[in-house]
Amino acid sequence: MDAIVIQILNGLDKGGAYALIALGLTLAFGTLGIVNFAHGALFMMGAFCAVTVQKLLTISARVRDMSVTFFEAYKETPYLELWWGDTGTTIIEYSVPLSILIAIPVMALVGVVMERGLIRFFYKRTHAEQILVTFGLAIVIQEIIRHFFGANPIPQAIPEIVSGSANVGTMLGLSDTLVYPWWRLIYFCFATVVIGGVFAFLQYTTYGMVVRAGMADRDTVGLLGINIQRRFTIVFALAAVVAGLAGVMYTPVLPPDYHMGMDFLVLSFVVVVVGGMGSLPGAVAAGFLLGILQSFASMNEIKQFLPGIDQIIIYLVAVVIILVRPRGLMGRKGVMES
């Protein structure tokens, strides 16, 4: 039982990342009809918001280390620690949660600039052209990040209070040896809250209602005198923020590097296709489902019979679903069907 619970938890935190990225992709596709291959780059930019904040908070002075006597040794000590002692250390520890505050406006701005500056010129172009231009944009963003931050992964600290593990077994009335890292549980909860927030926004606000109407019939909404284009720009910014936040919170799990967006992009497209193009609930459900499946596939009991299955399970499921149900799990009729 413990083994099953641990794999479900592992699948949920991975699935949380897949779901958040796929949600943003689907939002952009559902509203603007854009197949955005730069969406992985938005996830990566979010992660680098966290890196930037950490770098700013840890600007350091080179201080002589008197504990080393054999030669003149130095220690990089952040100014925050020099000025404020333990308070400074705590602020640095909380750099990832603090980054969320920075990432929201930054990613919203990036989204607006990207949509107004480039994406809008490709609304009426073919999907192949959209893929080419957004893929090119992703490479440009990736290389800019590489230029400024280097090619190496940059580890991110997490607050001491959540650096250990939660005794999940005791909480669930199972074995008391069943533990799971706090941060991964937090990531899952965070993903759930963000997804819930996006759905609530689209479901329960007038703004969201108009966006949904626009997704269903853009021309009619336009004829009613509503500037649907401006709303869609904001939805694109929202998609960028969701991807960015997914990236920020994922940095303690996976030290970010310039390539991480590409690594997640392909998986996220598979998630979108499995969930159904244009279906927000489908993207979320498929994200979690594939995360859990991948996690179970990595169990020794399964790999014993199917070696390497953990590396291909997601693609295998995608092939089967597309064959059996070409529209995906919750795909809408007519989307990507000519």
Binding site: K14, D65, E72, K75, G150, P255
Partner: protein, 453 residues
Amino acid sequence: MSDISRGKSGGVSRRSVLKAGAASGLVLATPTIFSSKAHAAGFRNDPGAAKSVTFGFNVPQTGAYADEGADELRAYKLAVKHINGEGDGGMLNTMKPLSLKGNGVLGKKVEYVTGDTQTKSDAARASAKRMIEKDGALMITGGSSSGVAVAVQGLCQEMGTIFMAGLTHSNDTTGKDKKRYGFRHFFNAYMSGAALGPVLEKEYGKERRAYHLTADYTWGWTQEESIKNTTEALGWQTVNTVRTPVGAGDFSQYITPVLNSGADVLILNHYGKDMINSLTQAVQFGLRDKQVNGKQFEIVVPLFSRLMAQGAGPNIKGILGTTNWNWSLTDAGSQAFVKSFGAEYGFPPSMAAHTCYVQALLYANACEMAGTFNPIPVIKALEGFKFDGMGNGATEYRASDHQCFKSVLVVRGNENPTSQFDLLDVVQEVPRSQVEYDPAIFGGELGPYEVAM
């Protein structure tokens, strides 16, 4: 009408004159066309009368082993300084026997070019090739991955250029993939196993169940094999061996199956950032707090260094492993190097830095001993060379496989560090006799001295 007007000259036709001219031209042009300066004097990149020679430092500046690569480059720069007679001389003051005079090599100043292996075999080969062909490097050295070392070593054998391997721990480098033009100062996985075995038995007993997570390339495979052989000889059972991709970042999908596998020891055959990530995540998943089979769960990292210990932070405390060298050693050679490196950079060198520094000095010294840069006499000078005063006690470059033999350190993550660098406790210095083996067990052929260029 003369013969000439008919194209003849005393029995020699115009055609034959043209043929002779073309042939002469070809003969005269041959050195330029086919060999340029590279082959003119019988070996590649012969410096001739030039006032300087070039070494090629091929290290990972990006990728999972970039930290080691950065430290290797620092060490190489320091070695060049010392060879050229600058700075305090470092290990030139302690190395015995020493032929270097502190005025470069054979009176020529040493210069260097650098390349980024990216911890990828193809990138490393391309980088080494560029340094040899375009920059005129006489010798290539570096690397923090056995996959890279084996690939570059193969290239160097083809090109007739000596390769002084940096940090490479796979048995294959001086085993089945050994090459006449390749030399390794660093120890290997077999030696780690032989040194670590008795300590593991003493600390954890004979009845243990081990689970291996292994980096999926030549180094990981041979380390897994060597440690598995050692622990099974102790009486331990191997529950599972799982291969993980290099640079995986998130190891959770490999760690969660360990939790309920019945294993009570996790052996991490990972290095560099991979080891930092896998160890940190193993600790986060509560492995070190677990009791399994009535025993405390233990983690073993067969190969680790101070740089990794620094990255892993408190998670490394109490963990056993082996290392080629540690800055805390008190012999004269180690102290001279640490002092020199520390004064230059403000922190002590890693074992990667140490092995690279020593390799650069050994090559330069061998050229001086041979009295030439011609690789064949230099190889012969290195084969069977016995030396001391370079941090590992009496050491020998075994002629039959180009592997250095010396003592091996078993270390433990320091529970009570006295400084930011005091991260490893030396548990035992295992003598050469305990880690030595018959070169035939790994097979392979060194190959010829003479290579077609």
